[in-house]
Amino acid sequence: MGCEITTRERAGIINPMYDCQPAGAQYAGIGVKDCIPLVHGGQGCTMFVRLLFAQHFKENFDIASTSLHEDSAVFGGHQRIEDGVMTLVRRYPELRVIPIITTCSTEVIGDDVEGTISRCNKALKTEFPDRKVHVVPVHTPSFKNSQVGGYSECVLSLVKTLATHKAAPSGKLNLFPGWVNPGDVTLLKHYLREMGVEATVFMDTEDFDSPMLPDKTIHTHGRTTVEDLQGSANALASLALARYEGASSAQYLQTEFEVPAHIVSTPYGIANTDAMLQKISEITGKPIPDSLIRERGIAIDALQDLAHMFFADKRVALFGHPDLVIGLAEFCLEVELKPVLLLLGDDNSRYKKDPRILALKSKVDWDMEVVCNADLWELEKRAKNPDYQIDMILGHSKGRYVAIDANIPMTRVGFPTFDRAGLYRHPTMGYRGAMLLGEAIANSLFAHMEYTRNREWILNTW
């Protein structure tokens, strides 16, 4: 009995859980308004990542490529960065930010990105004296870290490049939610409004869910502005909700501009949401209003119907981003689900020392495995092992065939969830997110009971 923390022993990967660093950097980049990331690498590094975002959000996002060809691999790709920047600025008059996102190839070639950006800045000043375009270096070689670290790295690079000096205090809160869905951003903004707290969300992705309008205008873009990023240095405090996705920016603002950094447990589940709201209250002096206590009560009320009747003793496997998986494991414990397998998919050595994992270790009185640097083959082998017995899989769409082939119900959560409709619209964080996820889990179990004729008659009356 107890929790074992292991690492994938195979050298190679069969079915990865995460994409590479530049993909994560691109996700952070599209969260900024009037911004087109320019990926310095082969065209596939951009084309497929744009497709991935389109699959998940059912939306198009603008990301450019320097289109590295053979000659650049031999002679260097500086000129293609400069050409790419100038072409973008000339053709997109609203453009204000261009993150230059490096990849494995251009890091191996050793292109001098910073030097090239200086040249770009000079050329931009000459050609566009009345326009300021911020060109941001983002170093994300694909052979380090993963999309998780790439996301964090790009947010940090944007903050570092744009937040250059401290001005008058804004009294606002910097909120770094991590790699979340538009539904989460909407929920977090709602909480802040209810509490009367002024805050800036990095990145504000609410409009990644955008409408078809009679006038055919397109509003699919991030809402975090240049001014928001510049103003992050003047904030009252920073609150980071994801240790591995954006917390480094909060820490940077503390070191550089003395903006106090607070890192809380990612608000999945009731208790983690309580802790987040308490922390916001503590920072701002604003009380948690009755309206949120009511929302909390609605969620607990809903989950109470599910926990001890349907969820208790169900063995759950979770995979996805580290902050999500750890947070959802904590949520599982709240509703009597038994997390038995946690898969974290890159070689970040900090996961093993994460205090939340150590706390889980002390809480469980059954065998729980945490596999670091895992792939989905680790899941598949266990899912197909009858002795292991997994009752529910929580994870993103890349694991769909594990669930289908092993005939285990699966609830989609995380990124990407392209094989289910509309999930990006709903929160997973907060009270409401916990409730919706709990209900999705229950409905997956119910549908599975019906398809497999396994005590489906229980639901004949409920």
Partner: protein, 472 residues
């Protein structure tokens, strides 16, 4: 009326050479878009890379083969869950992807040991699989890992496995097209002729350049079965690795996608004297013509005519029902390249649809020769079209439906233009007679979608304004 410089391209005037508006009396002797040329950085081109052209398009279709991608994780992650090519053995090729997960230390000290270990592991984990393709990627090509030497070593250690290597990093060439070429030539040089097939018919052929998108290959296989023709190898839809090693024994190479697989047909002709016959598998007229040509080659014309008559009787009335309702529809095709010339005439002849704009990501000039010959006047022919050009072209030609990929489909949705997946299809297969009825049905359902009218309506009664990008 020659080449066109669009408004949005005034700062990249070299784009003029890539966009042609056909006028009556002109042809491709006068004007031919520049194609397969270097991409302009920062244009929001639609192009992919050479690695994906090899792995995702051709090699990765094989239903019994491990696809070992030697590089960082992204190249594997990104070429997984992006295709709809099923197989008759449970879709092994769509379920798995393999990577050597290169990290910084392997970049610094070389990745050959890691590759060797990953290859052994993959065979150990999936003991029933005995075939593998190993691909280089940008960084492993740059550091010079010798994947051929590693493959040789693994084959020596495991006598029952066979491994093919494909050295095609993403930066090779200007698009995915380079990857098609590298894989074609490598395969014919190293693997064809190493397995002898069992011959079960006096008529044998290879069917080349069809990737079983939503079951295309399986649908066409019904025709070949009825004609009594043995298909030695499908290159590469629903195919086994060893089928492709025995391609040298076919009497005829029938080529559908000449862009991605014409190379291997040419090599098979040169090396083994197997004649090449190009057909179009989309559309009634074209499919019938293809069956006639193949039947004529084998001297089984009567069988061919019987098959065509049977299929026409079954499917033509359904096609005509849609033709009545689709006549005059304005269609745009923004896909890879060959489907432009496969589709433009077939939708015109079979469905009365007018193709008003076409953009190719990776087609070569010979593809433009074909499509301009087959296409209409008043139509735009674009090489490597980019996003701002698409907006401008939409304003110029006002298409009713666009056959393109899902991401661009999401973009044009905001302009109230429905898309049909021109790569992976909506509800295919689209090849053959039955398939073209599916295409017609999907186009019909797209155009007559009631939501489009609702989207254009403002319940407050205001008039709708023309398409434009949001200023904010």
């Amino acid at each position: 009326m020659p080449m066109v410089l669009l408004q949005c391209d005034k700062d990249i005037p070299e784009r003029e050479k890539h966009i042609y508006l056909k006028v009556d009396g002109e042809d491709s002797r006068d004007y031919l878009p520049v194609a397969n040329a270097s991409t302009i950085p920062g244009t929001l081109s639609e192009r992919g890379c050479a690695f994906c052209g090899a792995k995702l398009v051709i090699g990765g279709v094989l239903k019994d083969t491990i696809q070992m991608i030697h590089g960082p994780i992204g190249c594997a992650y990104d070429t997984w869950h992006t295709k709809r090519y099923p197989s008759d053995n449970g879709h092994f090729q769509m379920k798995y992807v393999w990577s050597t997960d290169m990290k910084e230390s392997h970049i610094v000290f070389g990745g050959e040991k890691r590759l060797e270990k990953s290859m052994h592991e993959a065979f150990d984990e999936m003991p029933e699989i005995k075939r593998m393709i190993v691909y280089t990627t940008c960084p492993t090509a740059l550091i010079g890992d010798d994947i051929k030497a590693v493959a040789k070593k693994v084959m020596e250690a495991r006598p029952d496995v066979d491994i093919f290597t494909c050295e095609c990093p993403g930066f090779a060439g200007v698009s995915q097209s380079k990857g098609h070429h590298v894989l074609n030539i490598g395969w014919v040089n190293e693997k064809v002729g190493t397995v002898e097939p069992e011959i079960t018919s006096k008529y044998t052929m290879n069917f080349i350049g069809d990737y079983n998108i939503q079951g295309d290959s399986e649908l066409l296989q019904q025709y070949w079965d009825k004609l009594g023709i043995q298909v030695i190898a499908h290159f590469t839809g629903n195919a086994n690795y060893d089928d492709l090693r025995s391609m040298h024994r076919a009497q005829l190479n029938v080529v559908n996608c000449a862009r991605s697989a014409g190379y291997i047909a040419n090599e098979l002709k040169k090396k083994y004297g197997i004649p090449r016959l190009d057909i179009d598998s989309w559309g009634f007229n074209y499919m019938a013509e293809g069956i006639r040509k193949i039947s004529a080659f084998f001297g089984i014309e009567e069988k061919g005519e019987a098959l065509i008559a049977e299929e026409y009787a079954k499917w033509k009335p359904k096609l005509d029902w849609y033709k009545e309702r689709l006549r005059g529809t304005k269609m745009a095709i923004w896909t890879g390249g060959p489907r432009l010339w496969h589709w433009t005439k077939s939708v015109e002849d079979d469905l009365g649809v007018q193709v008003v704009a076409m953009s190719s990501k990776f087609g070569h000039q010979e593809d433009f020769e074909k499509v301009i010959a087959r296409g209409q006047a008043g139509t735009y022919y674009i090489d490597d079209g980019n996003e701002l050009e698409f907006f401008e072209i939409i304003d110029l030609v006002k298409p009713d439906v666009i056959f393109t990929g899902p991401r661009v489909g999401e973009l044009v949705k905001k302009l109230h233009i429905p898309y049909v997946n021109g790569h992976a299809y909506h509800n295919g297969p689209y090849m053959g007679f039955e398939g073209f009825v599916n295409l017609a049905r999907d186009m019909y359902n797209a155009i007559y979608n009631p939501l489009l009218k609702l989207a254009a309506t403002d319940p407050r009664g205001a008039l709708t304004t023309p398409a434009k990008e949001a200023a904010e």
